[in-house]
């Protein structure tokens, strides 16, 4: 046996050999084969009785795990063995392997408690360090509970090397085992104190704790303040600033106190990171203090200066700080830096571009929206596709915010939407579609313009080949069908709707096209017949009859003739009369159609509804839709059939339809009535629907609602077997059959993960750095040099224009008044904005305990089965320490506010109690009582210190929060 282990270690491959081998394989491409072979060796070697062989094998396995993602969970027991080696180098290997592979579900983790305890109490500080580091990654609730006493001792170790690690590990211990707070909180706080050379670790822990539950740590503010003023370590200062940016919003007086030290740091420091942290603190929580805010904005501007070697990081962070300010109504800071912001739109760095775009959009207001968006849309045309869509997206978002709040001139806006749709890179079809329909529903006045924009989109055959356009075209088709009465040329519209290239559309959108064609047809037929009737009735010298074509829409409910209607009809007659003189032949020449392309631009003066045109229209429809009546797509088929059906009906009902001259006979009026009915059903105005509309409909008593799908269970209960359970079933069977179970199990996850990876690669292939040519194409994303000029020109334009418009806040050059925009009573916008929830205050057990300790709230005693010794005493000590915290400030401050220390309580807690007083007066009483009790009982260690500090105290306790 011994002989074999010597042989093993002699011929064992070292980690270095493994890495070299892997590198060779990298060129050859047999990497996975090589790894598989190495794994075989490792499996053999790791079972060796020789600890050296075992640890080398584990080292190799750890390497493969971390770099090549080879599973090592099967080796956890070997890890435990190597951890317990006496040799430091081997122990180190074991600990690294443990921190890398152990987790809550590792079962052998139960076995290492004693080993950890032994190493934590070792005389070799490096061994202690290993154990602490490992614990900071893997500590479970059990480990944290069982080892709290040892860690507690280490917290006041004389070896700085050990102490800082003990402090850092506390964070993990607290989150796993909150009761540890009672024992060790005091010592943790001590580590913040000035006598301590390096509070970095402690501040790091408090920074993390504070970010989870700021309120609990307010009482420690004086300690943090002292560090903010005294510390020279930038790392520590940055962390302390982070703590304050959590605390300051909770306590206005605290915010006031930190303004000065922060200004000091900003003026003094040469470190950019500290400077930025100061700036960030100011812009996030000190915006109410003008001087420091001004200083911060000044420093932000310095980030933009070119003497920073054009560091893109500084630019980016500066822009980010500005956008925080912009979101807090401090737009002036952005305007002050607008030159840089706009220049950054053409920056090379995409992050900077996006950030500056966001800021430019922040500057948009009612008065400059048209100009800014105009330039941006032009700029988008020249940008790369990604940024182009970013621009379009942010324009859409900004303009539609709060039910189009910034838009006054909707005619302009819908034509802008049309322009944006035509951008060849545009991928915002869905949003543009939504807005087109939304505006159509909400803003009545804009409909004629909207129909015009829709027509321009529909007649362009080139757009049909762009799939991103389809959604927009759907909206356009719907709008122009729904409001065909505003169309200047319905025939042209019909041709557009039925053009041959519509076969490129997805069936559902094509169905919308056909439905719109239906509406247009009804409109045309009715207009034609009404006109015919007008002729005949005027021949018969009858009073004109109003069918109220357009006007139905405005007065959908009224069937009687109102005065307006009558007069409007007269106007209409006026329109029609001149046409009577012409004959249909006048128009046949340039009429239409054969190819379905809209080439003939029929001028408006021509009366569209001639006999000839109607005949042609019917031909066109029959030719275009005839083949579709046999379509596979139900929507398309059904709609095509209804259009054709209507034509059939009309031809039956009105034989004279196709007769050129002559008045309508009696039965033909019947057909007209049918058309009227259809037209009427289309003329019901659609409006926006409130999200909560459904809720307002009462459920009738007679309606029986059954339990949700409950009956389905009985029907398909046998089908609903969960796939996972069947899978595991299969696994068990498989395991039973196969006696090399372990091997199979081991190889299984790795194949599974490679297939996962492959799948991922397939989906996100774009993001894999594969070959060098990708880099080449990547650089193509940037515009070529000559285009760069254009870009900058564009930016310059924008610069000029914002110079004019941003400054002159209100430019009331708008001749148009803002049309009425339909808003629903329950503010439908809010629903869309997805109200951001504030950070859920993790009122977990940890902060509960911390509060107990810092605030003396004893109402929540923690339950724990095996409390470490000294638990209760530790708690008392902590309380005393936090009471002591008020000292360092000494007597510079006076009590500004009238909250007088409660009589009967000692000075010590008055400084502290006041703070708490604001929150919970009720608890004051029993806290005083309890702390008095504490005092009486005292404690061995805490006692002397507490008394000493009590002696120092002057009657007026300085309060940092004042």
């Amino acid at each position: 046996m011994a002989g074999s282990s010597i042989m093993e270690s002699l011929f064992q491959r070292s980690l270095e050999d493994l890495i070299k081998g892997l590198r060779l394989q990298l060129m050859g491409g047999g990497e996975s084969k090589f790894i598989a072979k190495s794994m075989e060796e490792i499996r053999r070697e790791i079972k060796s009785t020789d600890i050296q062989t075992k640890s080398t094998a584990l080292e190799k396995l750890t390497y493969l795990n971390s770099i090549h993602a080879i599973d090592m969970s099967w080796a956890s027991f070997h890890v435990v063995e190597v951890m317990s080696s006496n040799k430091f180098a081997q122990k180190k290997i074991g600990y690294l392997a443990a921190s890398q592979s152990f987790n809550e579900s590792t079962d052998v983790i139960l076995l290492i408690t004693n080993q950890l305890r032994k190493d934590l109490t070792s005389t070799n500080q490096f061994e202690v360090g290993l154990a602490l580091e490992c614990l900071s990654v893997i500590a479970t609730t059990d480990l944290a509970r069982d080892l709290t006493p040892e860690i507690f001792t280490l917290l006041s170790s004389t070896k700085i090397f050990v102490k800082k690690k003990a402090v850092a590990v506390i964070l993990r211990v607290f989150s796993k085992y909150p009761d540890a707070v009672r024992v060790s909180f005091k010592r943790l706080v001590e580590n913040l104190e000035s006598s301590n050379s390096d509070p970095a670790a402690a501040i790091g822990v408090f920074c993390e704790l504070t970010s989870r539950d700021p309120r609990s740590y307010l009482p420690l503010a004086p300690e943090f303040y002292r560090i903010l003023v005294d510390s020279k370590n930038n790392w520590v200062l940055i962390k302390v600033l982070k703590i304050f940016s959590e605390l300051a919003p909770l306590e206005p007086r605290l915010a006031k106190r930190i303004v000065d030290p922060i200004s000091e740091h900003m003026i003094r420091t040469a470190s950019k990171s500290l400077m930025f942290e100061c700036i960030r603190t100011v812009v996030t929580c000190l915006t109410d203090y003008e001087t420091v805010l001004k200083l911060a904005v000044e420093k932000i501007s310095e980030f933009f200066l070119s003497d920073n070697d054009d560091d893109p990081n500084l630019k980016y962070l500066g822009l980010q700080a500005l956008s925080i300010l912009a979101s807090k109504e401090h737009l002036w800071a952005v305007v002050e830096n607008k030159e840089f912001v706009i220049k950054s739109l053409s920056d090379m760095d995409p992050n900077i571009k996006f950030e500056s775009l966001r800021l430019v959009m922040e500057m948009v207001s009612e008065s400059n929206v048209a100009e800014i968006t105009h330039v941006l849309v032009g700029y988008a045309l020249k940008s790369d596709p990604e940024f182009c869509n970013e621009i379009l997206g942010s324009i859409l978002l900004t303009c539609s915010r709060n039910v189009y709040q910034v838009i006054v001139d909707f005619d302009w806006y819908v034509s802008l939407l049309g322009e944006m749709s035509r951008n060849p890179h545009c991928q915002k079809g869905e949003e543009i579609e939504r807005q087109l329909v939304d505006i159509c529903l909400r803003v009545r006045e804009v409909r004629p313009e909207l129909v015009r924009v829709a027509r321009d989109l529909l007649i362009d055959p080139a757009l049909l080949s762009n799939p991103y356009m389809h959604r927009i075209l759907r909206a356009a088709a719907w709008v122009s069908g729904e409001h065909v009465e505003f169309s200047r040329n319905p025939f042209e519209l019909m041709e557009a709707l039925l053009q041959p290239r519509t076969h490129l559309l997805p069936p559902l959108i094509r169905a919308v096209y056909i439905q719109s064609a239906f509406k247009v047809l009804v409109f045309c037929l009715q207009s034609y017949l009404v006109q015919k009737e007008v002729i005949s009735s005027s021949l018969d010298d009858l009073a004109p009859r109003g069918f109220g074509l357009h006007f139905d829409r405005n007065f959908p409910e009224s069937s009687e003739l109102s005065k307006q209607e009558a007069s409007a009809d007269c106007e209409q007659d006026g329109d029609f009369n001149p046409r009577l003189k012409r004959t249909a032949e006048d128009y046949t020449g340039d009429r239409i159609v054969a190819n379905g392309q809209t080439s003939s631009s029929v001028s408006l003066e021509n009366d569209p509804f001639t006999h000839e045109s109607i005949v042609n229209l019917l031909h066109l429809i029959k030719r275009a839709l005839g083949p579709l009546s046999g379509s596979d797509e139900v929507e398309v088929q059904e709609r095509a059939r209804s259009v054709l059906g209507l034509i059939d009906l009309m031809e039956q009902e009105i034989p004279g339809l196709l007769v050129r001259e002559g008045s309508l006979k009696g039965e033909e009026l019947q057909g007209l009535k049918v058309l009227d009915l259809i037209q009427h059903s289309f003329s019901k105005e659609l409006g926006p629907v409130s999200l909560s509309a459904q809720e307002r409909v009462l459920v009738p008593d007679t309606l029986l609602l059954k339990e949700n799908l409950a009956e389905l269970d009985t029907v398909c209960g046998d089908i609903l077997l969960s796939p996972s359970s069947t899978f595991s079933l299969g696994n068990i069977l498989f395991g039973e059959k196969n006696n090399t179970l372990q091997k199979e199990k081991e190889s299984e996850p790795s194949t599974e993960s490679t297939s996962l990876l492959a799948e991922h690669r397939k989906r996100h292939g774009l993001y894999y750095l594969s070959s060098t040519d990708k880099n080449g194409s990547g650089s193509n994303d940037y515009p070529p040099v000559n285009e760069m000029n254009n870009l900058i020109d564009g930016a310059q334009d924008l610069l000029k224009l914002t110079a004019q418009s941003v400054d002159s806040k209100k430019k009331s050059s708008y001749s148009k008044r803002r049309p009425m925009v339909v808003r629903l009573d329950d503010g439908d916008e809010e629903a869309g904005l997805a109200v951001e929830k504030t950070k859920d205050s993790k009122d977990d057990s940890l902060s509960g305990v911390v509060r107990d300790i810092l605030l003396g709230d004893e109402t929540k005693p923690m339950s724990s089965q095996s409390k470490p010794s000294g638990k209760s005493s530790g708690k008392r000590r902590v309380k005393e320490v936090t009471l002591n915290i008020g000292h360092p400030s000494q007597s510079k401050e006076t009590l500004g506010e009238v909250e007088i220390p409660r009589q009967g309580s000692s000075n010590v807690h008055s400084s502290h109690g006041k703070e708490r007083h604001r929150r919970s007066k009720k608890k004051d009483g029993d806290k005083d009582e309890s702390s008095r009790k504490d005092k009486q009982m005292g404690h061995r260690r805490g006692r002397s210190k507490n008394q000493q500090s009590a002696d120092i105290q002057t009657p007026a306790i300085p309060d940092y929060l004042l």
Binding site: E16, I19, R23, E59, N65, S66, I67, A69, F88, A89, K92, I93, L96, Q100, E104, F126, G129, L132, E133, S136, V137, I138, F161, K164, K165, V167, A168, V169, L171, R172, A200, A201, G204, V205, C207, E208, S211, W235, I238, K239, K242, K272, S273, F276, E277, R280, N313, L314, L317, N351, S753, L756, L757, H760, H764, L766, Y767, Y768, L769, S770
Partner: protein, 132 residues
């Protein structure tokens, strides 16, 4: 937890070092290392990176972490490695991965930077070298 993970990736996208301060399954690690190459903001992390010659140093941090400080941290790491290896290169890191892990453990615990002095960072490694 400020720092979540530290990755060293070379130009070809091969991971050279991966240190995580929270437990992720192998699949999660693999996916993350695969995706991260082109993202600056990744899920709930922010990735701060800096390139030295052929190596990218990526540090995944919480959203509110100070980016510039992390860049300084990366630089400190590189300087420390430089001091130990003498003009550090990719191969040094590949062949002495455990030492780099050791340095990182010295510098960062629980995602917090706890040590910034180069000589303090290197003491345990010197001890290890003496021991072997």
């Amino acid at each position: 937890m400020g720092i979540r993970f530290i990755l060293l990736v070379n130009k070809q996208g091969q991971t050279r070092l991966a240190q995580y301060f929270e437990y992720l399954t192998l699949e999660q690690r693999r996916a993350l290392e695969g995706e991260i190459c082109s993202f600056v903001e990744h899920r709930n992390y922010k990735v701060v990176y800096r390139r030295y010659a052929s190596l990218f140093f990526l540090v995944g941090v919480d959203d509110d972490e100070n980016e510039l400080a992390i860049l300084e941290f990366i630089h400190l790491l590189v300087e420390t490695m430089d001091r130990h290896f003498g003009n550090v290169c990719e191969l040094d890191i590949m062949f002495h991965l455990e030492k780099v892990h050791f340095m990182l453990e010295e510098m960062v615990m629980n995602g917090c930077v706890v040590e910034t002095s180069k000589s303090n960072i290197l003491t345990p490694i010197q001890f290890l070298d003496k021991a072997t």
